[in-house]
Every structure is written in structure tokens, then in C-alpha cells.
């Protein structure tokens, strides 16, 4: 007992003598605490995903068995790879589309002075404040071919990627434009002028000088847009039907487990499917963590 008292005594003394050290311990403890708090749901999902069905009831903090076949079995209930592929294609098309349109807009917003620039920029940003519910009914009617323009019915796009691509491009465009506006405006005028004197057109200067010089910013916008589209729920869910042949994205793939649930609730298979769906975004986060941080802060703080 005396020994422990001694140790406690020493600890108190040393921490009074050196408060920085105690502070450092606290820092590590809290860093570990928050990391565990964030990681736990992922960890739990993973544990459930490798548990055999009969072990599900006993699962708490440690796996009760290892059944890697869950990852194959889950694809037999729901062809999730098809949905994931659809989502990746949809996100890629949207990203390319947004990058081109936002580059043109960011170029003139960032480097030109023209009448109505402020008003147009505000009109752009205000869109982000509206909830998706204010768009959904007209968009649904538009994409199912129920709106007529000058007496002509709009094409029925339901069952193609466009009902998801177009709204999500619209939603991510303001953020993308804003980030690119900020970065493009930072490029010294001299470089653009030099290109112009050499005989470059304005569009030429954009794609030959400005875009290559802001490659990190363009990559940032690309990663952000891809992840935002891949993760989106509202439009992806409501503007598509649930068949993967009709370009239904990941949302419907995961929701299919609710529909096709076989007797005995295959929770382990739901978990395995979710892990598969996480792979693309996890890879992107590991590759582009710094860009995600800089992109989100540039987008939010400058607005």
C-alpha cells in the first residue's frame, strides 16, 4: 500500500513540477477517446459482417466467429456490385460535367469584372439553401416526361442515369464553382497575360494555363463532387426505381435488403454489403484527405 502511495506521490509532484507533461497525457487520452468513438460504428459493422448467422445474437464487442463467405453470399441476395458500379458511373459523369461547367463559371467569376457579377454569384449560392423537397415534384414530373414545353412533351428520362446526374450536378455546382473561383482568382495576372500575348484565346488560356496551374484545386473539387454524389440519398432514392438495370444507385442496393429479406433477418449479410459499399469512398478519403479538408474549408469559410 505504501508503495502505491509513493508512486501517487511522485506522480503528483512531477506533474506539479511539469504541468506540460500531464497536459500531453490528457491530449493523448482524449485523442484516443474520440478516435475510438468515431471508429466504433465501423468496427461493429465489420464484426457483424464476418459473423456466421448463428453467432449474431452473441455479438457484442468481439467477433464470435469468422465467416468470410458472407461477402460472397451477400452478393447472391442483392447484386450489390451492380448498384455500386452504377453509383460509380453516375458519380464520374457528374464529376466530369461539374468540373467543366464550374471551370468556365469559376474562370469568369474569379478573373473578370462584369456587370451583374455580384448578383449572379449570390443567385448561385442561394440555391444551396433550399431543401431538396422544393425541387422534387417538378423534377420528378420533368424526368418522367410529364412537362410540356411549347406543346412538346419533355423526353422520358426515367430509368436512365440523367435524373440523378442532372440534379446532383446542379446541387454540387455552386460549391464547385465557388472553390474554383477562389483558386482561379489567386493565379497571378502575369501568367495569363503572357499566354494571351503569345496568342492564346481566353478559353485557351483557361484550359492551358489556369486549369493546369490550379490542378490541386481541380482535383479537390473532383474528389468532393464524387464523394457527395456517391453519398447522396434524397434524389438518388426518389428519382430512380429500384432495378439496377435502370441505373439505380447504391441507395437502392442497400435498401433492397429490407425488401428481399429472407426469413431469419440476414444482418450479417446486410453488414457485409455495407462494407462493400464503403470501399470506393474509403479509398478516396485515404488518397485525398488533405484535399477534402482544404476544399471543404475553402467552400464554407469564404462563403
Amino acid at each position: 500500500m505504501k508503495k502505491y502511495n509513493n508512486i501517487a506521490d511522485k506522480l503528483v509532484k512531477s506533474s506539479i513540477a511539469n504541468p506540460e507533461r500531464i497536459y500531453n497525457y490528457l491530449l493523448y487520452i482524449s485523442a484516443a477517446f474520440f478516435s475510438v468513438l468515431i471508429i466504433f460504428p465501423f468496427y461493429f459493422l465489420f464484426v457483424v459482417s464476418i459473423t456466421p448467422q448463428h453467432g449474431l445474437a452473441e455479438v457484442r464487442y468481439l467477433p464470435t466467429g469468422f465467416q468470410w463467405e458472407n461477402y460472397i453470399d451477400t452478393l447472391e441476395i442483392v447484386p450489390l456490385h451492380q448498384y455500386i458500379l452504377n453509383s460509380i458511373i453516375i458519380a464520374t459523369i457528374t464529376t466530369v460535367f461539374v468540373l467543366i461547367v464550374a471551370s468556365l463559371a469559376g474562370y469568369v467569376f474569379g478573373r473578370f469584372k462584369f456587370k451583374g457579377r455580384g448578383v449572379l454569384l449570390v443567385a448561385f449560392l442561394i440555391i444551396t439553401y433550399f431543401p431538396g423537397t422544393t425541387y422534387i415534384i417538378p423534377l420528378f414530373r420533368l424526368f418522367t416526361g410529364n412537362i410540356s414545353l411549347f406543346g412538346l412533351a419533355t423526353p422520358d428520362l426515367y430509368g436512365t442515369p440523367w435524373p440523378v446526374v442532372l440534379p446532383l450536378a446542379g446541387i454540387t455546382l455552386p460549391l464547385a464553382t465557388f472553390i474554383l473561383t477562389v483558386f482561379y482568382s489567386r493565379i497571378p495576372d502575369g501568367l495569363e497575360d503572357a499566354a494571351r500575348i503569345e496568342g492564346c484565346t481566353r478559353i485557351g488560356a483557361l484550359f492551358r494555363v489556369i486549369v493546369p496551374l490550379s490542378a490541386p484545386a481541380v482535383a479537390t473539387v473532383g474528389i468532393l463532387t464524387f464523394i457527395l454524389v456517391y453519398n447522396e440519398f434524397f434524389f438518388s432514392f426518389l428519382l430512380t426505381d429500384s432495378s439496377y438495370n435502370n441505373w439505380a444507385p447504391l441507395v437502392h442496393g442497400i435498401q433492397m435488403y429490407e425488401v428481399t429479406t429472407v426469413r431469419g433477418s440476414p444482418y450479417h449479410l446486410m453488414a457485409a454489403g455495407s462494407i462493400l459499399g464503403l470501399i470506393p469512398v474509403t479509398v478516396l478519403v485515404f488518397l485525398g484527405q488533405k484535399k477534402i479538408v482544404s476544399g471543404l474549408t475553402a467552400g464554407a469559410l469564404k462563403e
Binding site: 446542379g170 441507395v251 469512398v281
Partner: protein, 335 residues
Amino acid sequence: MENNIKRIGDVVKSVANQLGGRRVSRLYTRLMNRIEVLPDDKFAYLMLTPAFILMTIIAFWPITYTLQMSVREDHDIETVGEFVGLENYYKILTNDANLLAPFFDITQPFYSSLTVTIIITIGAVVLSMVLGFAQALILNETFKGQSVMRVIVILPWAVPIVIQGMIFRLMFTPGAGVGVEWLDFLGFANATSPLAYSRESTFIVILAEAWKHSAFVAIILLAGLQSINRELYKVADVAGASRWQRFKMITFPLIIPAIFVALIFRTIESMRIYGTVVAVSGCGDVTVLTCSVINEFSRHNYGTSSAVAVILALIIASIVAVYLTRFAQRGGISQ
């Protein structure tokens, strides 16, 4: 200048030659010439055209269309009913509209789902702000393993909403989830099958939201912390300020702008929550306002649905307005 246009044109020309011959390439060159001789502001408008066409189709037109629908009668077969003025709004606000049955008070569907939405917003925003702030303060220090923690902090932000829902659904499923024990420990009455009850489901939705979105708060506040001038801390050190004093006198006042930004974004996002609710428990247990909109929409009550959507947008706009005026006042004082 002429030279260069040709140079760009050459690449396209070679493609165009194969596709449609010389006429196309000549057209292209002429088009590029036309664009190049435009004065700056006309050039700017031209470059903005694609963006504005997209925004018109996806945002401006739908908003006006929804406004129009909201003053028209619900109609079974025809999609556009008679003009009825503000009757839809009046019915909704006086509980005359047959909205989705919520859990506080079935006789007051609109106010109940508004309450649920606000409870979720307050709970999720407060929790994610507190957790995010703590994470930002930790990440602002230098320590071993910092970069690992940064990846960990960002991860939930990148999780698809439907998978976020699935994770929390599984965690609180009786017979498989570990969360059931936690709820029991916290003293919830229906802990054994929490997702079958509204109160417990709402709590779980708040947890799921806080988990996913504290990442965003952390990123914004971290940027705020890192933009604080280091010299200020040196001065404080010389003056003999304690850690707490430094936090109170320097850190906190200087990141208030970042806090406001995070608050505004988080509040808007929370007020229009839909996916998490659907994926965790379904609209039947946790009836937020977006659920009412979608439910009326799926019943082809376009008028009522649009009116609820407009009301929700107005509520969000007024909250943002309150924040912004507060922020302006704050800014005025501190400067």
C-alpha cells in the same frame, strides 16, 4: 492570335475531319473566332450560360413550379388542380390536412412533425458542434499520430447516408446490436426493441447525425483555429496567461465566425433531414417535415405536398436570417 486559334483548331480538326469533314472544322474555327472577339462582359455571360441553363432546369424553374403548385387544389387524376389561393397553407396550419400520422399529437400532424424536426435539429446540431469542437481542438495540437486521427475524423463525413443508416440500424437491432444494452443502461423504457418506438428512434437518429456530421464541424473549426495569429499566443505567454485564459481570451473569440459558419450549414442540413430517417427507422416512427412532403407527393396530393415544402423552406430561411443578423451584430461588437 490567328495562329493560335489554328493550333487549337488543329486537334479538333483532325477529329472533325474523320467525323464530318472540313465543313465542321471550318465551322469550329469560325465559332472560336466569334467567341474570341466578344467584349469581356459578353464573354463572361457566354461562359456562364451552361451553368445557368443547368441551374434553371434544376433549381430556379422547380422553385417557381412548386410555388405555383402550392396554391392549387390537390387533384386525383389531373396533375394541376384549380387555383385555391392560400387554402392549402391554411389547411396545413390549422391541422385540417391529412398529413402523415406523427407521434406527439395525431390531431396536430403539422406541428408534431415540425416539433420532431426541431428536436432532431437541436439535438444533432448541439451534439455535433460539441464533438466537432473537441476534435478540432485536439487536431490543432501537434502530437504523434495526428495524421492518423485526421483521417479517422474525416471518415464518417464520407459515409453514404444509406450506409450510415444501416450501421445505426444494425447497432440498435435487438438480437444483433450492441446499442440495445446502452439504451437499457441509459434508462430508456423501450430499450429491447428501440427502433419500433418513436422516442427511441428519434434519439438514435440524433446519434447517427452527430456521428456523421461532427466531422464537418471539426474541419471548419480546425481551419478557424489555424487561421489565428500565433503571435497572440506568444504575447499571452509573456503576460503569464494560463491555458484556460488563453482559450477564453484568444481562441474562443477569434473562432466565433467559424462557429457561426458551421452552425448555419449544420442547421440547414439538419432541418432538411430525410435519408437518415428513412434508412434508420422509416418515416412512420420519426416523422420529420420532409417525410410529410414525400408522403403527400406519393399520394399525388401535389398541392398539399408543395405547400409543406414551401413552409419548410420559409422556416429554414428565417432561421438563417436570425443567424446572419446575430452574426452581423457580433461582428459589429468585436470589431
